[in-house]
Subunit: 248 residues, 2 copies
DNA sequence: TCACCTTGGTGAACGTCGTTTACTTATCTA
DNA sequence: TAGATAAGTAAACGACGTTCACCAAGGTGA
């Protein structure tokens, strides 16, 4: 077994970010832990991610995980960040200009969100279900930025819609909401007038409600397949935005 | 096999329902257990209800609780049933004919649902949050009837509205939904044409979405008080039903 | 080359949890 | 008054998250 001597040492004196060997294997271990944790998430739900079981699958013991994550909650929080990122990728792909006109892009984004949620119920539950005592997305930390990216995927679409041809908005909104709405828009990084933000939030509430009820099974006893209900709901949502006719 | 308390022995030779002394004290103990469990629910959330802690508060030891409930999950399920009942009481009171015309009764019911949910976030989470592995409302058992009563509180209101003066409905709905919608209506015990049921479901999705996002704090970072947002959302909902002008 | 320090791992232990078992005591019944 | 039944306890089991003391490598500077 001959070792190729060409890449053993890094001679770059001025290097700043190239990872050392230790850092590489450590990053790989972190990735393995999160991959295994996600498998347990899929198999047993958010409450079924157990440090001892994850370590067992990796051929390690539980205390070793504490070299990589501060606690059980920290591992979950890290997973939450990854999932927000993955979901943001999905939405951004569906919202890309290459997907057609604005109608098709918005409809496609809504469908992509439902598709991901229905296909990944455990992941969806971790992100959007009951808050878990220590796993909230705190104002700082990487999870916050990743969650923000997800919100921005939808928000940017609305901002573009508003810029191209404004959708109908309520004439006057509660002045108590003005500052809150602007804060919220700033929070997810979009700039829209308050009335338009209210419409955006209303759309998100309807989308969130429809998907959550389907994934949580609060409607499943009688509606084995909730897709027609979702399509009906999202069609009404599009109509309220003045996007009545499908174009794609 | 959930044991409904105090049904093991039937010594009453003549009478049918007069409880013996043992049955009374047993029923009282069951009530005490559930009361204490709810206090822990309020204080520590759904995941914070621990048998040992509940027993400790009652001056008992944990195994004693197994004389009254089959398991931790059974206690939670029983609590779920009680909460559905309590919530049904609240909605029914707000939907009573004495509360004004149909507009006022529907608006009041929606507000009552939000009020109860915001005032009892832990209870709301237990009922409408992420499903807990063994605590689902199974098709039979007392919890199902109680959950059905809650659904019926809203459903009956829609049925009455439809009877008095039909609200606008979509012209044609997906035929794949027809049977599902009728099944669903039968499930919660109302009789409406499929298109009207679709409108009812859509309203419930919006209401559920708005309240869930507020209670779970998915909107709280920037919207300290989400009531204006809720009012805006429910106003749009009423308008879609043709109930534009407040009358009360 | 050798000593040293850092990193990543282990095994044992702590306290808590839900749950089961065997046993005891109180209460109701015949 | 004797026996059945209901309701409680103490002890134990296995699993959990977490901490601690310890150890064995890998990288580093004299």
């Amino acid at each position: 077994m001959t070792i190729t001597p060409s890449t053993l040492t890094e001679p770059s004196a001025a290097g700043q970010a190239l990872p050392t060997r230790r850092e590489r294997v450590r990053a790989q271990t972190v990735e393995d832990i999160k991959t295994t944790a996600r498998q347990h998430l899929v198999a047993h739900g958010p409450t079924g991610i157990q440090l001892r079981a994850v370590a067992r699958d990796l051929g390690m013991t539980a205390p070793a995980l504490y070299r990589y994550f501060d606690s059980h909650e920290a591992l979950l929080a890290s997973l939450v960040g990854d999932l927000y990122s993955e979901l943001a990728d999905v939405i951004e792909a569906a919202a890309a200009p290459s997907q057609g006109d604005l109608h098709a892009r918005l409809l496609g984004s809504a469908r992509a969100f439902r598709r991901w949620s229905v296909d990944h119920p455990a992941e969806f539950t971790l992100l959007f279900g009951s808050p878990i005592p220590g796993v909230g997305v705190d104002e700082d930390g990487p999870e916050h930025a990743q969650a923000r990216r997800f919100g921005q995927a939808f928000g940017a679409l609305f901002a573009e819609m508003w810029e191209r041809e404004p959708f109908p908005v309520p004439e006057h909104i509660d002045p108590a909401m003005h500052a809150h709405l602007l804060d919220y828009a700033d929070h997810i990084g979009i700039t829209l007038p308050p009335a338009a933000i209210a419409v955006f939030l209303s759309c998100w509430v309807r989308l969130y409600g429809a998907v959550t009820m389907e994934v949580f099974g609060h409607v499943s006893f009688a509606l084995a397949d909730a897709e027609p209900l979702f399509e009906h709901e999202v069609a009404g949502l599009m109509a309220s935005l003045g996007l009545g006719s499908p174009t794609a």
